[in-house]
Amino acid sequence: MKKNDMNLLERYQEIHKERTNRFSASRIYIVIIIGTLLILGALTLQFWMTENGLKSDITTLRQYNESAQVQTKMAEIAVLKENVKSLDTMLAEVKSINAVFDSAVRFNSYTLDVLYSTLPSNVKFTAITYSEGVVKVDVSGTRPSDFSNYSLRLINDAYFKTVTYSGYTFDSGANLYNATIECVMKGGN
């Protein structure tokens, strides 16, 4: 029986050469270059798509925001807001004026009635003068005590804020005492 020697070296060298060719440096470089270019291309493409997407979104948003209809409505709303604001200011101002008027002194018959109803029987009015919330009553009486009596009656009535007089004089011709009583009126509300 003939014996055949096994030549494994030849086969080994063939496989090694094949493998060396497959993983040669130039091939690896080419693969790396292609891979890098693909990655960079993909990255650029993604950036480009993102940029275009944003541009498209911006165009859509701008068209909506700047559309004549929206702008007209927004202008209308701005005017309405401005009007409401100025009306608020006006309202506050007019209310403050009316509050002053509500608290204002109103000189009317009630004041005269208070002055008259508390007048002692022997005291007469000479003149009544009202100015800027103060009533000055010129009175004449037969006794020097008339004015203190009248003033105290008015003070006790509490209609006026203050009731004062600064003295009296005797008129020998008329045989009467004269005085001016000053009453400060209270405001309204």
Binding site: E51, L54, K73, V94, D102, N108
Partner: protein, 268 residues
């Protein structure tokens, strides 16, 4: 010339770096900057859109608010008279002098001027001294300083001064009628001399322009004032109650004076 593997690798590496730098500089960085800028623009526009979307539905509410506020302002403004001329003011007062048969001795009117309303409240200053302050602090009964409501707003003000001849009772009635106008006309000065029957009357008329003139007055037609104090006397019957003089009713409930011999002031 043949290159060693190491040199080949270095050349390759440098080439790759050059390619990367080229891509990054020419494409990626500018695009990235552009994207950042576009994102910022988009955010701004998106914010604007959000504001618009939130604002647009407010239109109806704002319109209603505006109408309500106009009504509120008109209601407050209605308490103040519209600007009027002296001739128009006379249509308020002369019917009263006629009603109470008063002789108008003289009348002086000022031009309208800007003025801050005061309310004619005279403030009383309480004296303050150390011991009083201590006592008030001890008794916890502190006297507050006299005060009044003020406004910084400015209105038009005209002053009308009349000198009249009448008696006390008619003077009294006239003051009530003026108060019953319930408007922005205030008696600021008034005096009655019991010896002569002379009345001096000063009225401040505060006026303001209005948003809407609905309900405003028309002053038209001729009016014949006839008071001459012929019934005489300086006192009348002093006291309260009782009606005085002839003529119709003057005003009511803050409305206008309407005299029964023909309307001289008419609500629009």
């Amino acid at each position: 010339m043949s290159l060693s593997k190491r040199e080949q690798f270095l050349l390759f590496f440098m080439g790759m770096v050059a390619v990367l730098i080229f891509f990054i500089t020419i494409f990626i960085l500018p695009m990235n900057t552009s994207i950042t800028s576009l994102k910022s623009q988009k955010n701004t526009l998106q914010s604007q859109k959000d504001i618009i979307d939130a604002t647009l539905p407010q239109a109806a509410v704002l319109k209603t608010q505006q109408l309500t506020k106009v009504a509120d302002v008109n209601a407050e403004l209605a308490k103040i008279e519209s600007p009027l001329l002296a001739s128009e003011f006379e249509r308020w007062l002369l019917p009263l002098t006629t009603k109470y048969d008063m002789r108008v001795v003289d009348a002086k009117f000022s031009e309208p001027a800007l003025s801050t309303p005061t309310g004619n409240v005279a403030l009383v200053e309480e004296p303050v001294y150390g011991l009083k302050t201590m006592i008030e602090a001890y008794t916890k009964d502190v006297t507050l300083p006299d005060s009044t409501i003020t406004s910084k707003s400015v209105l038009m003000k005209s002053n009308y001064k009349y000198t009249l001849l009448t008696n006390y009772k008619r003077f009294r009635g006239m003051l009530d009628d003026i108060a019953a106008w319930n408007t922005s006309f205030f008696v600021t000065d008034a005096s009655f001399n019991f010896a002569t029957g002379v009345v001096k009357l000063g009225i401040d008329a505060y006026t303001v322009d209005k948003i809407s003139y609905d309900g405003d007055k028309l002053y038209q037609g001729d009016y014949s004032a006839t008071g001459d104090n012929s019934s005489g006397g300086t006192l009348g019957s002093v006291g309260s109650g009782g009606s005085v003089g002839s003529g119709g009713s003057v005003g009511s409930g803050g409305s206008v004076g309407v005299i029964d011999d023909g309307s001289t002031i008419i609500s629009k």
